[in-house]
Symmetry: C2
DNA sequence: TTCATTGCAAAGCGTTTGCAACGTA
DNA sequence: TACGTTGCAAACGCTTTGCAATGAA
């Protein structure tokens, strides 16, 4: 993640305490927090971080391609810092848990040109839905 | 779509003018309207349709499995009446246009059990993103 | 010093809900 | 007639924005 901070600095980002904390919160694997969760964890480290700043910072990280927005349900967006390795998401229909997965095969290869209707297809997002072990045990 | 109305009646649905209009608006291929667009088209046919009724009716159609909610962006949900044939979506990054597509291959087959982490995977959603011919020409 | 960044609070958008009036079965 | 359905309007959750104060470079 220090990589991230260096990349941001190299892009001329003005590095503030708030931005550093937001970036740190997003560190780690399988992190898919909502903006509100990011705010909660950020204020735990640094009380003076406003919601607006969290939204601003997340939006900028997304624009920079460092973080990806994931809207798994109709609820709040989640932010996925694992933008540099292609992966897909496994979402629990019960509790909303999200896991990163790395399927074999390229989904793009499954879409023949006859089915592209002239679109310049750039990417494919795959979301697998099911019950996580915990929720399956309760059901 | 008359099929739909008959299915609904068979399920004991109380058939009101408002519900019929909402169902009619959703008729046709490649229809992916937001709740607000459904409301606009519904009131064009029948002025006395409230937003609340549109939301209620859409929610019931989703619960009945006749319509599928699609959240392509972080904005308003869209409603896809093509629930009876497996298909995926091609979304234009420029204008938001959505097309149904029917890829070859089953995405579920691309997720080996080692990548399922104990999840009981039930379904896979695939969204292809790119530029439609119109937006590609402008870019 | 300067100008981007911040915090606050209010507004915005899409959606849901409470409740009285309504209309289908 | 009875009970499910409707419309209105207010409340809601999440996100964005205006503006004055702040602070990194």
């Amino acid at each position: 993640m220090s990589d991230l901070l260096e990349r941001l600095r190299a892009r001329g980002w003005r590095l503030t305490a708030q931005r550093r904390v937001v970036a740190e919160v997003l560190d780690g694997d399988h992190v898919h927090l909502t903006a509100d969760e990011v705010h909660a964890r950020a204020t735990a480290r640094l009380p003076e971080v406003s919601r607006a700043t969290v939204y601003n910072t997340l939006g900028e990280l997304v624009a920079l391609g460092e973080v990806v927005e994931v809207s798994t349900d109709g609820r709040a967006k989640r932010y996925d810092p694992n933008a540099h390795r292609a992966h897909q998401h496994l979402v629990c229909s019960g509790c909303g848990l999200i896991r990163d997965v790395h399927p074999t095969g390229d989904p793009l290869a499954d879409l023949p040109s006859a089915e592209r209707f002239g679109f310049a297809v750039a990417a494919a997002e795959v979301t697998y839905r099911g019950l996580c072990p915990g929720c399956a045990a309760k059901a």
